[in-house]
Amino acid sequence: MSDKVKGTTTTITTGDAPAAPREPSSQERAWEKNTLRPTLEKSPERQTEFTTISGYPIRRLYTPADLPGWDPNRDLGFPGEPPYTRGIHSTMHRGRLWTMRQFAGFGTAEDTNQRFRYLLAQGQTGLSTAFDLPTLMGYDSDHPLSEGEVGKCGVAISSLADMEVLFDKIPLANVTTSMTINSPAAVIWAMYLAVAEKQGADWKKLSGTLQNDILKEYIAQKEYIYPPEPSMRLVIDTFEFGVKNTPKFNPISISGYHIREAGSTAIQELAFTLRDGMEYVEYGMRRGLDVDQFVPQLSFFFNAHNDFFEEIAKYRAARRIWHKAMVERYGAKNPRTWALRFHTQTAGCSLTAQQPYNNVVRTALQAMAAVLGGTQSLHTNSLDEAWALPTEFAATIALRTQQIIAHETGVTNTVDPLGGSYFVETLTNEVERGAWDYIEKIDAMGGMVAAIERSYPQREIAEASYKYQVAVDKKEKIIVGVNDYVATEKALDILQIDETVAHRQAERLTKLRADRSKSEVDRRLNALRKTAEGKDNLMPFLFDAVKSYATVGEICDALREVFGTYEEVAIT
């Protein structure tokens, strides 16, 4: 079936066509009879069923019989061209290695600045910022609810002053930065832009990523502040601002990582992430943005979990699905709209507290899957993931893991090395099919916001995570060192973060509030509140507010007054 252009939409038929019956060749039948059957009679296989980690059954052997009607030109294509199965650039990692972008952040801005500069000196090629829970939830370090939490899960950022310290001696014009922040993302972005301005960096050339994916917060990570509609307004404000002012910056990283960490299957991770993406596209288009202008700036973020081939199939299917959706649903014409760009993080939830050095191995294998799947950017977890934030020692091994894959394994010598594998192409088709089923189900519910309000993705994830735990408890799934190959061991040296961070922050905030102009802060917060009540883009007002040294908490509280706050209906 070939492309048919009908006005502004094109129908594409790829591997998502309904599965044709499997008809083995006569040679395959002969093999089954003459070679396989005698083997099975002598020694049956180790399990009655082999499945991916997501529970998808895997055949003993994949042959051309598994790909009836598969058309390499239509379904595989060439890298850098639709349907992008093989990758979004024609030379992929031969042209440019993925960005080695280690997620880092703890303690004060000074602590994290030091870790940032250490990692850059060790060869990482991009920054990625972890913020602490108070910052993530829009509270200052000295808020009562911040007690015990300051600097523990990431860096404490309460104001532009902290942000300036965070990027001290780091030229934002030359280093790309990712910021893992969601509900207060627009506020933190305004601070980042203010630091860039102060450094003399040109916004038009500024490159980086803001996570800013509120839909997955309702679905999985639960770091929401405001209800869905005002939260989506804030996100689209960043898109609108980004199109005009920061064309090289990704105002969003549409994430599956957290969905997977919450316990979803690979297909759920893929489907919910891409359907989130479509929801953002639709909201953006409703705002009047041109799909071919703003969508090229949207980026994605996937997990790299344990099942090697399922993950590779997932990334390949992701690119194919996104291209099809952009063309068929939104009439996109710009190839940069069609090409899905993604960052990957290896699966934190797969790493164990027991025998933590085994985690180096897990992370390496997961990272390999991400590379073979064509990721643009990668974070590898540290061996102490299940105990604490990474020590410098553990973070270095994690970075070296990527460097070894890049320079020693040869997997970057060719593009999409697994392309054409009967197994990988079949699995790619199957994962794509499974994802479309979910996507269409969510369409029928009225979209992702509607599905979230019905707790649909939340329930799917809770179900999948429980099934997985039952399998582990029953030892149907083996986790080395945990439910098998157990051994006694001594404690690991881990990173300690104590309350001195909180005390320093409290002192700083006292000084900040004394030094700044209260009347100016109040004036700008009032302007912000007024704009929040209306429909104008909030970014310029957030920018003004942060430059007057209004704090994260003050700004988020001003928005809480207008938008209200959100409480989920808990599903267990």
Partner: protein, 132 residues
């Protein structure tokens, strides 16, 4: 006369929203025949202690992955004492450095369950602890 069901409060104290473990434990304990109340997210120690009193629970399970346990746990244990709930079994699950465990147990926390614990181990612990 049927034995009174064990009543468990599963709570997420502090700002952290990662609830995969808490929800799985809640369901596993329910499947094991216990009455389980899940508090939902972003609970303060006050809210948890009040819920424990209101729901008249035998066990409180705290899920803490944020590193805030050294602040949250002492506060909760104090509140439980003040409310006359010292005989409630308090369990903690999550990311807890081994070095912090002795002090937590000294403060009255019955057990700390680290990543990799099976749900069956928790069920067994509760049954043994409450001798029913």
């Amino acid at each position: 006369m049927p034995e009174k069901k064990i009543r468990v409060l599963i709570a997420k104290p502090g700002l952290d929203g990662h609830d995969r473990g808490a929800k799985i434990i809640a369901r596993a304990l329910r499947d094991a025949g216990m009455e389980v109340i899940y508090t939902g997210l972003r609970q303060t120690p006050e809210m948890i202690a009040s819920a424990a009193v209101q729901e008249d629970v035998d066990v409180i399970g705290l899920s803490i992955l944020s590193g805030a346990h050294n602040t949250i746990c002492p506060q909760l244990m104090t509140l439980l004492r003040e409310k006359g709930m010292s005989d409630v079994t308090v369990l903690v699950g999550g990311i807890i450095p081994e070095a912090d465990i002795p002090a937590m147990k000294q403060s009255g926390i019955a057990e700390i369950f680290l990543p990799g614990t099976s749900t069956q181990d928790i069920v067994t612990f509760i049954h043994k602890r409450l001798a029913r």
